[in-house]
């Protein structure tokens, strides 16, 4: 009985291979985008974890300098003498064969066991590690470049993050040319009793506890959340296809189900068979999707890696490694998605009355009740979205709001389309036009899932496009303000810096120091800058909010300026005080925008800055001049500065814009893929509907319309529906853009951006979606135009 039942069920797919392909391909595409994004995220996170593990960041507390990047090695010795079990670490970057490699120096004798690189053995190995020429352990990808650049022996070790190498602290100090300097101290887990407190012996250092996670992981979280949200959106769009395909396959097999039940197959068995069938299909699709997803991830990873390096200084491997957890997650989400998409169909099978007449067209029949229920659900979701926007905080609330908003627009779409088509029918003149509108309305139930998918894709496209374009516009305007100096010069050492200042004084209109020091404020890294009192700043600096007389207060060393992200993170407003390392709590006189920078920043009057942080390096300067080219030439001749130490405004702008564009390459690619999936959904829906449409079209044909004319009307219908969907997608997309700019960006990056509208982009998208709809409609329409009359005549001659 089971075998016979299974055979009867499966024979359906043999007769409808296209439907089988739709189901599997839809699910595979959905899984592909989702798992591709997950693969990228997993790879990046694994890289951070390896980097953090190498530093012991995730497992051990650390002591960091409160101001500046380094501490002298004597501090380590002093702390050890006081009884503190700490281990020194030096951390820096060198150039190796054109790439930047992060060098981490550790002391194998005092470091906790889990900090040493995997593959490193004590005993004899210790001598080779510590004594000249020394050893560097590094990721296999990085080994060749590093080996060419350093004198030590380079040992490939897979457990180390790419672009990172670990060696003895002495070796790394030599390679970085920072003798006697450390960047941090690892605090061992077990400390002896009775040692003096850190606030007494190391007031200039801050203790970071291990559970806080690495800075990189924290900074990049929002970026990965963005990617994950996009992956989820694509997956949701794909699920619309799967839902449609399953619904159709079940609906068409109703007579089979009924016959099987009548022949004595228990309902529970029937359901079990159907579930088993779905699981097999879903697994197949999942594997296919994962392979596709792997391809997508491989194609996108270089851009993501470049973004992460440019934006956050995080190193991510350029190639993917396959993780069992990733396979399991991909398979799991595909199965869960299929189950979700099939629940409704399975319930309908369970409720199937044994004796009702077979009605295969019920699937496509309009149901005002369904439309009303969907509209009701949309209203509830819209309310959820508004509440989340009003009362929620943080990224999760932001994404909840977005998700509810998008879903609400998708669910309200059938009601809006139905209303618009009814209006069209009312306004139509002529029998054919009336029929066209009415018939289009009748197709809605069969097409609404695909149209919802299209709506989601279009809205996401408009939303993200508006966000990126608004950002770009704001960003370029901001760059112009911020990069007021014509030339930027960096001296190679302090002596050269002094000669530079003396040489430049009579030759440049102004020499503006760009001196900075890294500090920890409220346990997050903040860069403190000294700023000269000069019209360059007074006239150009992109202030968002300021007290009156702001620049005078800053110049007098009474107040500071902070960037928007620091203000938002700490809840600061002009007039508040901010305690800085060194025991100074100045008033905040103003807040300025600072895009593309994930960390906090504060500007301090130059005199005050040098008094507070006399050790800050004084190497960088912005130069104001009427003739940057001549000055640049003269500087190069006089000082022989390498090109990277002398950069003009245009080059920095170009570089910044390039980083910006790369950041959104991934988003753009995902956008296009989502749109493609929606196009595919329309094609499959139209193809499946085409079969059911013969009884609807045959009478019109018999009454005097050619097949070619009917086919043209079919294409026009697809175009009309796509246009109406786009009309709904524009407001939805703008709401999405607003949320991205005012909620997500603020939570993720700490900056709020003004929204600009780009109607030309909508036009382009409109043309694109019209093209997709026409392409999707062309195939079924061509088939209709070529249907032999005898095929259409069967409608009238036979019982269907």
């Amino acid at each position: 009985m089971m075998a016979a039942g299974l055979q009867a069920l499966l024979s359906h797919w043999r007769r409808r291979p296209g439907q089988l392909a739709t189901l599997i391909l839809g699910l595979a595409l959905a899984t592909a985008l989702w798992s591709g994004v997950q693969a990228i995220n997993a790879e990046a996170r694994a890289s951070y974890d390896r980097a953090a593990a190498a530093l012991g960041e995730t497992r051990h507390a650390q002591l960091l300098p409160a101001v500046g990047e380094t501490l002298p090695q004597e501090r380590f010795v002093a702390l050890r003498r006081e009884g503190w079990l700490v281990s020194p670490v030096i951390d820096g970057r060198i150039e190796a064969a054109g790439t930047s490699v992060r060098l981490i120096g550790i002391d194998p004798l005092s470091a906790p066991g889990d900090v040493a690189p995997r593959g490193f053995k004590g005993g004899n190995g210790l001598a080779a590690f510590m004594l000249p020429p020394g050893e560097l352990y590094t990721h296999p990808d990085t080994a060749p470049a590093l080996a060419a650049a350093v004198g030590a022996s380079v040992i490939p070790a897979a457990g180390i993050a790419p672009g990172t190498a670990i060696g003895d602290v002495g070796l790394v100090q030599r390679l970085l040319d920072r003798p006697g300097q450390l960047t941090r101290l690892i605090v061992l887990p077990d400390q002896p009793l009775g040692r003096p407190g850190l606030d007494q012996i190391a007031p200039d250092m801050t203790l970071r506890t291990p559970d806080q996670g690495s800075d990189v992981a924290r900074l990049t979280d929002s970026f990965h959340l963005n990617l994950a949200a996009f992956g989820l959106l694509s997956f949701a769009v794909g699920l619309f296809i799967v839902h449609g395909a399953i619904g159709l396959a079940f609906e068409q097999r109703r007579p089979v189900f009924r016959t099987l039940r009548a022949l004595g197959l228990p309902l529970s068995r029937l359901i079990a068979l159907l579930v088993a069938e779905l699981l097999v299909l879903a697994s197949l699709a999942a594997v296919l999707g994962m392979v596709l997803g792997y391809g997508i991830a491989t194609a996108l990873l270089p851009d993501v890696a470049a973004t992460l390096r440019g934006l956050y200084g995080a190193d991510v491997a350029g190639s993917l490694s396959l993780r069992p957890a990733w396979w399991a997650a991909g398979l799991g989400i595909a199965l869960a998605g299929t189950t979700l998409a099939a629940v409704g169909a399975l319930i309908r099978v369970a409720r199937l009355p044994l004796l009702a007449p077979a009605q295969p067209r019920a699937w496509a029949r309009g149901n005002a009740g369904t439309i009303r229920a969907q509209a009701g659900a949309a209203a509830v979701l819209a309310l959820v979205s508004v509440l989340a926007a009003r009362y929620g905080t943080g990224l999760v609330a932001g994404f909840a709001m977005l998700g509810a908003l998008l879903l609400a627009t998708a669910l309200i779409l059938p009601a809006i389309l139905s209303g618009a088509l009814a209006l069209g029918a009312r306004l139509a003149r002529g029998a054919l036009a009336e029929w066209f509108w009415a018939d289009t309305r009748q197709q809605l139930p069969g097409l609404s899932l695909a149209l919802m998918a299209l709506l989601l894709a279009l809205a996401a496209n408009i939303g993200v496009g508006t966000m990126v374009s608004s950002f770009r516009l704001t960003f370029t305007g901001w760059l112009d303000q911020r990069l007021a100096s014509e030339l930027y010069v960096t001296a190679r050492d302090e002596a050269e810096a002094e000669r530079l200042r003396a040489w430049l004084a009579p030759r440049a209109d102004a020499v503006l120091p760009i001196w900075s020091v890294e500090a920890r404020v409220a346990d997050a890294p903040v860069f403190l800058y000294g700023v000269a009192d000069h019209p360059t700043y007074r006239d150009h600096w992109p202030l968002l909010d300021a007290l009156p007389g702001v620049w005078d207060a800053v110049a007098a060393g009474e107040a500071i300026l902070v960037n928007e992200q620091l203000a938002l993170r700490q809840g600061l407003a002009p007039g508040d005080g901010l305690p800085l390392p060194g025991g100074w709590t100045p008033v905040i006189a103003g807040i300025y925008s600072d895009y593309g920078n994930p960390t906090g920043q504060a500007l301090i009057g130059l005199d005050r800055f040098t008094a507070l942080y006399p050790d800050a390096p004084r190497l960088r300067y912005g130069l104001r001049t009427d003739d940057p080219q001549a000055l640049s030439r003269a500087l190069t001749e006089e000082f022989g500065l390498p090109p990277e130490n002398l950069i003009d405004q245009a080059a920095i702008k170009a570089f910044s814009l390039q980083v910006f564009e790369r950041t959104f390459t991934v988003t753009g690619a995902l956008n296009v893929l989502t749109l493609a999936i929606a196009g595919f959904a329309i094609l499959t829906s139209l193809l499946t509907l085409a079969r059911m449409r013969q009884p609807q079209l045959a009478p019109v044909w018999a009454l005097g319309l050619t097949r070619a004319r009917l086919a043209r009307l079919e294409v026009l219908r697809a175009l009309l529906l796509a246009a109406l969907t786009l009309a709904c997608a524009v407001p939805a997309g703008l709401a999405l853009a607003w949320a991205l700019l005012n909620v997500i960006n603020v939570a993720a990056f700490g900056w709020r951006l003004p929204m600009h509208l780009f109607p030309l982009d909508w036009l382009r998208l409109g043309v694109l979606s019209a093209l997709a709809a026409v392409l999707a409609a062309l195939w079924p329409a061509r088939r209709l135009a070529r249907t032999p009359p005898s095929e259409l005549l069967k409608v009238f001659a036979h019982e269907r």
Binding site: G430, A431, L432, E434, W435, A438, D439, R441, Q442, P695, Q696, A698, P699, V700, W701, A702, L703, G704, L705, T706, R707, A708, R709, P789, S790, L792, L793, V795, F796, A797, E799, R800
Partner: protein
């Protein structure tokens, strides 16, 4: 001659015997002819050829002197729109339009819509209370009556009906046929009616029988 069919033959792809071989028939305005035959004898096929819905393998079909074989798809569609009225066994109606719109549809396509005439037809066929209903909300007999009203609303010269009462009980079938005959007589059209009921066939002026691909009296 309104309908002039000469020596048509038709064989479906894959079939071993022809459905129609060398069939000829002529029908003029005001005449009515019943075509009988067993199930599967080719009655519907013949009707479809006569309406220009399908093309014969050999022979010619001419309507009002126009040989259908010389027309392209669009030409045949124009002829169906303007000159021919069709009533099928089932699935006659356009599901997305209500009964009233269905009745007016062909007349409007042909550009000779007459609201008063449509209303009169609906009234005669007892459809007036059902004009706002959609095909799926109508009974089989009501659907057939809507199909007849739609055909006659366009005042076609030639009415082709394929077992228009096949799905109806005897009494309803008789009543519908009576109306059809009356209305055809009033409009002066020619009527070719397919049926396998000799009882119904006897009510028409002429009668032909189809078997083994050939016509007999």
């Amino acid at each position: 001659m309104l309908l002039d069919i000469r020596n048509v033959a038709k064989t479906f792809a894959g079939a071993d015997a022809p459905v129609l071989s060398d069939v000829s028939l002529a029908l003029d305005r005001g005449q009515s002819l019943a075509l009988t035959g067993e199930s599967g004898s080719g009655k519907s096929t013949f009707l479809h050829l006569a309406a220009g819905l399908d093309t014969p393998d050999a022979g010619t079909v001419a309507i009002d002197g126009t040989v259908l074989g010389t027309l392209d798809d669009a030409g045949r569609a124009r002829l169906r729109r303007g000159t021919v009225g069709l009533v099928f066994q089932q699935f006659n109606l356009i599901p997305s339009l209500d009964a009233g719109a269905n009745i007016a549809f062909q007349a409007r396509l042909a550009g000779r819509h007459d609201a008063a005439w449509c209303a009169a037809l609906a009234d005669r066929l007892g459809l007036s209370p059902h004009l706002r209903k959609y095909p799926e909300e109508l009974s089989g007999g009501q659907q057939q009556r809507v199909a007849i009203a739609r055909t006659l609303a366009a005042r076609p010269a030639l009415v082709l009906a394929d077992e228009p009462t096949g799905n109806l009980d005897e009494a309803t079938g008789d009543a519908v046929l009576t109306l059809l005959l009356e209305l055809v007589a009033e409009t002066g059209a020619g009527l070719l009616l397919v049926t396998h009921s000799t009882r119904l066939a006897d009510r028409l002026e002429m009668r032909r029988h189809l078997s083994a691909g050939r016509l007999s009296q």
